[in-house]
């Protein structure tokens, strides 16, 4: 329902929405982790490896971190630090200009090389992983850079695209990508839509997070529900409100 006029109750705060600074016992079942890296590791555990037959490395989205840590600028800084020292890789996932996927470098390397077993493109991919990843933290590469700085030939670039490590962005420029991540993107978008629909169709467009996690999900939702909840809270598609019965998720009409 699209409200053209604001309700009087909104103006006069009759619903007595509490200011976010108060903490409630039922709402905080895990202590706020101060460390971004440990939050990343926790979110990685939510990623369903079996779904992709273990071919994909564990992917987390950057805005999922915003749902756990309050200070977005700090999260951004920490993520950049981890990328600078080569532990974390960031990818432009393609479906949203603001959605960035994060993968641990070691995970990425193992999975990519495992996927390349017995394929002709293996040596080129290895060369790419050895040379390019440690030195360059960019999300995309242009033809100039690939040919002159990293000394790849045209045919090698074609092999990299074929293996899935690079995806075409436009003529002469490529995104860094995760091989076989098409399935991930498809299931992710489907699942996000379904979970958002669950919140939106609830009475008053809101649902307690604990209730939502108890619910049975449709076959559209292939990821663990928690993964999607962190995503929609971090992307500000739902408002997260602390209440005495736990965290409430309210659909944001935009």
């Amino acid at each position: 329902m699209n409200r053209k006029r604001a309700l009087i109750s909104d103006t006069f705060n009759l619903k007595k929405r509490r200011k976010g600074s108060e903490k409630f016992g039922a709402g905080n079942d895990k202590d706020e982790p101060k460390d971004i890296k440990s939050t990343l590791e926790y979110l990685m555990t939510l990623f369903p490896r079996k779904l992709f037959n273990d071919t994909l490395p564990q992917v987390v989205l950057k805005h999922q971190l915003y749902s756990i840590h309050n200070d977005k600028t700090l999260v951004d800084k920490e993520v950049n630090k981890l990328r600078e020292c080569g532990e974390l890789l960031m990818f432009q996932l393609g479906f949203d200009s603001e959605a960035f996927g994060l993968v641990f470098t070691s995970d990425y390397k193992t999975k990519v090389l495992a996927g390349e077993e017995g394929k002709g493109t293996r040596t080129t991919v290895e060369k790419f992983l050895e040379k390019v990843l440690p030195s360059c933290t960019d999300l995309s590469f242009s033809k100039d850079k690939m040919l002159k700085v990293f000394l790849f030939t045209d045919s090698e670039i074609t092999q990299l695209v074929k293996s899935g490590v690079l995806t075409v962005r436009e003529a002469g420029s490529w995104w860094l990508s995760i091989p076989n991540s098409g399935k991930f993107t498809k299931y992710f978008i489907q699942g996000r839509k379904a979970v958002l629909g669950m919140v939106r169709k609830s009475k008053y467009g809101e649902v307690l997070q604990a209730d939502l996690e108890e619910r049975r999900t449709t076959s559209q939702v292939k990821f663990p529900l928690r993964y999607h909840v962190h995503d929609i809270v971090g992307a500000e598609l739902v408002e997260s409100i602390p209440t005495t019965s736990g965290t409430l998720l309210r659909f944001v009409d935009s």
């Binding site: 200070d71 977005k72 999300l139 420029s173």
Partner: protein, 385 residues
């Protein structure tokens, strides 16, 4: 606690002022307000009905609750009133003898406050979204005007000429702002997602364009390179020291830029809802540590900490969309105007009296009672119940 900390504490306790309201003259939404810089006493407002009103913000009535009266109005009955909605009003920075207004009737009028007649009218070919006079200019008296046309016109108040044109944008220019630090530096925002910074003394194009990715071409898709936002950029505001520039866009983001280098400081404010198709007027506090940004967000005003991006609070009070807000630097008060035709004043909440003082207050008797706004006084319940 230093003065800056006190001011910050006052901003943190802003609430709707129960004792003060502003005369309701506008019959329609209020698009723009401006408080004069000299004394901070007079406020201009421009409305969707083309009406311009001047209010006196000072309280000389002697009572605690008062209404900021309208001193004079350019109403619908005036011969010189704008035909369509007034989008921007601004006092002449150095005295209140003059003010400039621009409107969707494609004109910009320079008014004499005494006679309320326009001393000069500039005609344009398209709707005028925004204009700005430099608050510190001594060497020039140029007004920058952003219209439907991608070219930015600079009109000279002294000579009436308008030959100086800044070319560079590709779509309508939604907001223009002079730097409060250097009188020749101008920032302009356009619907083509770009923000350009110009030195008006230069004959060639802009000094630089703000790039949200700070030159990391890898982060953006090709079309988004060298854009400030992923959508129309409709709000511009310099911090009072002129060192930083804030921009808001319809991609629901607000960005803080270093105004000297054009670098994105990457402060993440989260989702700043923005659906405005015209310019958005928002304000930054001054002299507080830390500083705050006040952004109209739907029917409330969102208050963010400037350098950390944290959402401090939402000021609720308007019945409909808020279109503009202006911060009174000396008193740490915020005025906001919106589609509900109201201008609301937000003041730092006064400290409640300590327990020891209560007995003193009782003695004041009638004088103390008059502190309660008559609208809130209980005039109907009887003591017998």
């Amino acid at each position: 606690m230093s003065a800056a900390d006190t001011r910050a504490a006052r901003v943190l306790s802003l609430t709707l002022d129960p004792d003060r309201d502003v005369d309701r003259i506008h019959g329609n939404g209020i698009n723009t307000i401006d408080i004069e810089a000299v004394e901070g006493r007079y406020m201009l407002s421009g409305g969707a009905d083309g009406v311009i009103v001047i209010y006196d913000l000072e309280n000389y009535s002697g009572k605690l609750q008062y209404t900021c009266k309208a001193v004079c109005t350019v109403g619908r009955s005036s011969r010189h009133v704008h035909k369509f909605s007034v989008e921007t009003v601004q006092w002449y920075p150095f005295d209140t003898g003059m003010f400039v207004s621009s409107s969707f009737d494609k004109t910009m009028k320079v008014w004499d406050t005494e006679t309320l007649k326009p001393a000069e009218v500039f005609q344009f070919e398209g709707n005028v979204y925004s204009h700005h006079l430099s608050p510190i200019a001594r060497k020039h008296s140029l007004v920058a005007v952003g219209t439907n046309n991608p070219k930015i016109q600079l009109c000279d108040l002294k000579s009436g000429s308008r030959i100086h044109v800044l070319q560079g944008h590709r779509a309508e220019v939604l907001s223009v702002r002079w730097s409060p630090r250097y009188e020749h530096i101008l920032a302009t925002a356009s619907a083509d997602s770009k923000v350009n910074v110009w030195d008006v003394r230069r004959a060639s194009g802009s000094l630089f364009t703000l790039d949200q990715h700070n030159g990391e071409k890898s982060k953006a898709s090709a079309e988004a390179v060298n854009t400030a936002h992923n959508g129309r950029v409709n709000g511009l505001c310099f911090t009072s020291d002129g060192l930083y520039l804030l921009t808001t866009g319809t991609d629901d983001r607000m960005r803080l830029w270093n105004s000297a280098s054009g670098e994105n400081t990457l402060v993440n404010y989260g989702k700043v809802c923005n659906e405005s198709r015209k310019k958005l007027q928002f304000a930054v506090s001054r002299g507080c540590s830390p500083d705050f940004v006040f952004v109209p967000c739907g029917s409330s005003v969102a208050v963010y900490a400037l350098h950390t991006g944290e959402l401090v609070t939402m000021l609720r009070g308007h019945y409909n969309n808020v279109d503009c807000c202006e911060f009174h630097q000396d008193h740490q008060e915020l005025y906001s105007g919106g589609k509900d035709s109201n201008i609301l004043a937000w003041v730092p909440v006064l400290r409640t009296a300590d327990v020891e003082d209560e007995s003193n207050n009782d003695n004041k008797g009638a004088a103390g009672l008059s502190a309660v706004n008559p609208a809130f006084q209980d005039a109907w319940s009887s003591d017998e119940d």
